[in-house]
Amino acid sequence: MIMRNAKRTLAFLLTVFLLALTAACGGTPATTAAPETTRAAETTKAAEKTEAPETDAPETDAPETDAPETDAPETDAPETEAPAAGYETPIRVSMNVMDAEKNGIDARAEFVEEKFNLTFDYLPVSWGDWNEKIRTWINTGDTPDLIWWDLKGATAWEYQSWARQGAFTAFSDEDFANRPQLQEIYETAESIDALRVDGTLYAWPSLRDNPPEAQNCYTSNWCYRRDWAQEVGLYKEDDIYTFEEWEELIAAVLDAGLAQAGLVMPPWGFPHAAVLFISDPPAEGNETCSYIIDPDTGKYIWPPATDAYVAGVKKTYDMYQAGLIYRDNMSFKASENQDMIQAGQAFATYNVTGSLNTWTADMIKDGTIEKREDFGPAIVSGIDGTWYMTQTEDYWTVTALSKDIDPEAKNRVLDFWDWIITDEGRMVRNFGIEGTDWNWADNEQGFELLWDFDEATKDYISPYAETRFNEATPAENSRVIVPPGSVTYQYDERDRVWAAFASGTPKSAIKPFDYQVSFLSAENKDQFGSFNVEAKAKLNELIAQPDIDIEAEWRAWTDSMAPDVQKVLDELNSLLID
């Protein structure tokens, strides 16, 4: 008997051993990635490793999202002259980025490397772990040289506390003196002051680079199915609707059976985008609520307790209960709203003006719409009759320098930052190498693009991965350089929206962003913030319940929160208004 069982043990061990062997053959090399003494050397090795498999990937002609990174980049970097004066020593800096595997391995990176003798070692972060990693790195002192992060008012207290404890290398006035591009930002950007800690700047903002008329609002509005609006006969010239007309239109489209769902929203905007974001009750930077100054008393108040907010809550409740807002929007976790629009199941969704080109292209491909104009932005006034846009911070991310960064590395990086926002820098960043990818030209756009052109989609096919030194350089979501001959639908529509906004018909207003409140760090404010998490939860909870007195319920809740809210208000009033 023992023999029998022993055999079985043997067979079992053999199975495990064979599995081990198979695996070992597959990849012993990687186990040898032993710890190295310097981080730079380590990451170089990593970079080489990622590079290798990509070069021998089969040449594909699929024009899908992941454009082949193989073609152009490796071989032809025309700039071969020696590094400019002052750049004799090679510099390596580490930095965290998204899509680390796609960064730093194309001709653009090579160009920068040659021009500045500067190499980036990219450490991966992703949306799910970005803040957690930054927090761990800083708390253990193991930061990359450049710490790039998504600094928001709600977590600004951490930044301030770390800066005071010496986690970063400060920026000084001299750092910008001979760098005209940076100097301009340093002097004009509003956020510079907010980012100062006890008078010293520790984080450099990557500006949103919005057009001046937008005044740092991003183009957040509804986009809807114009063809359906026309079909039910309620289409309005120039897409301008009062709130009542908008409600009527949604109901008509649903009644006609054209759509399964009326309004669908991305999870962060649900259900506030329906009424509260676009109406009088204040919501700062598309948060569900913040603190505002009451014009009558000159003191800070909490918006959810105001009459205007309650009216917005009531309207949201009615719309949800009437089915104008899609019920299952409550369960959306990702891009379900996009799926429903693209499948032709929903009537309108929020905040997609900046991506209209790809959305409409996909919808045409899927046969959901016939032409791009069938889906576009709507201009909807709030329930108080005014059309609102919401202001945000003027930056989208910031970059801080590690306390251990080498002064020469710091200088080199700043030189690079200064250059990347020049005209030449922008072209390299967006389109690649002059002569290979593009040439200056005497046309409306000032350049010609040498990439392959896809006649079907009227778009160029980029030989590069989407990422392009996004970190630490300005976002160009408004001043995008549009290559000659490509689709301009989303830019045209955006310009049209902003022109209408500036014209004042319909009546328009901005919900301003308050840096002071946003960046204030105080005991209760750090703990509770603006109670926006709680407000969002409560609103969602209430609108799902049929047959309740929504106003009474809401007021009961704001009353119950009042003691805690008052603690924060007292801090704001005593610290900001003396």
Partner: protein
């Protein structure tokens, strides 16, 4: 000694009549199986159906009107998937062997009445509940020079304390007579463990090998924290950037250019299938060890 099947046969044949109980039992088991298969089938469908078509049939599709393989092509074209597979397989194999070795040795030792047994048991259970948190752990890994190595992905796992306790209890429940007779023959502790205890514990060993393997296969947290180059990423971390980012991203308003391309449902589902398949294929190999019985006959000899 060979198992005498004649003793079993009368029992089997007598029970072979398919009674009411059997019918109810089968009906329940099959129904439960179907309840599991249907959503699972859906996952496969999503990976091969164009998103738009699937959305139009929300949850009601039994067979796709149109099949596309683009998602799989895209998934396999990514170089990270392959290096991810390689790293994950190494971690799973080395890690599982390492976990099992430590677990078995300690589990056997704990069945003995040595001085300090109770204390050691307590010391083993205690860290199940009390840990120092992230910072000291990170500093420790840093001091051990394990940051950005493949070792950090399984060395710290050591043993799963719950598994250790369960296995130890099982060892203790085996009849002592077996061990005693071997000891009289002069067998050492190691020999007893390997020649008597382990063969009698095969079902349990297979179970925990599987449990450990799946744990190692699914691990991402250590890699997320301690691995700084993507070429050392295990498969799960590659996939997490595809799948979970979309969820986190959608929970907050992210303007600007950091917004990565949202992976289509096809790609999400296909990458999930790609990551699950190897583990699911391992399963039947180990299954036989816990679905068939053992005979503890030796005690009578």
């Amino acid at each position: 000694m060979k198992k005498d099947n004649s003793l079993i046969r009368p029992q089997r044949s007598r029970l072979n009549r398919f009674g009411v109980v059997d019918i109810v039992l089968s009906a329940f088991l099959i129904l439960f199986g179907l309840m599991i298969l249907y959503p699972f089938w859906n996952v496969i469908l999503v990976s091969v159906t164009p998103t738009t078509i699937y959305a139009q049939h929300r949850g009601m599709m039994l067979w796709p009107p149109k099949i596309i393989w683009d998602a799989y092509k895209t998934t396999f074209r990514s170089s990270l998937i392959w290096s991810g597979y390689r790293n994950t397989i190494i971690i799973t194999v080395l890690g599982t062997a390492y976990n099992m070795a430590l677990t078995i040795l300690a589990a056997y030792a704990l069945t003995k009445d040595f001085i300090g047994n109770r204390v050691i048991r307590f010391l083993i259970i205690f860290p199940l509940y009390f840990s120092g948190g992230l910072i000291p752990y990170y500093l420790l890994i840093q001091d051990l020079k394990l940051i950005n190595t493949i070792w950090v992905l399984f060395l710290p796992t050591g043993v799963n304390i719950m598994y250790l306790l369960i296995i130890s209890n099982y060892f203790a429940s085996l009849p002592d007579a077996l061990e005693d007779s071997a000891r009289i023959d002069g067998a050492s502790d190691f020999r007893i463990l390997f020649q008597i205890i382990l063969p009698l514990s095969l079902p349990l060993l297979a179970t925990f090998t599987l449990y450990y393997a799946v744990e190692r296969w699914n691990e991402w947290y250590n890699a997320m924290l301690f691995v700084k180059s993507v070429s050392l990423w295990p498969l799960q971390n590659v996939l997490r950037t595809i799948i979970n980012d979309v969820t986190v991203m959608a929970s907050q308003n992210i303007p600007g250019q950091v917004r990565p391309d949202i992976a289509s449902d096809n790609i999400k589902m296909s990458s999930i299938i790609v990551s699950m398949l190897p583990m699911m294929m391992l399963y039947p190999f180990l299954q036989r060890y816990f679905l068939s019985g053992l005979t503890l006959g030796a005690v009578k000899e």
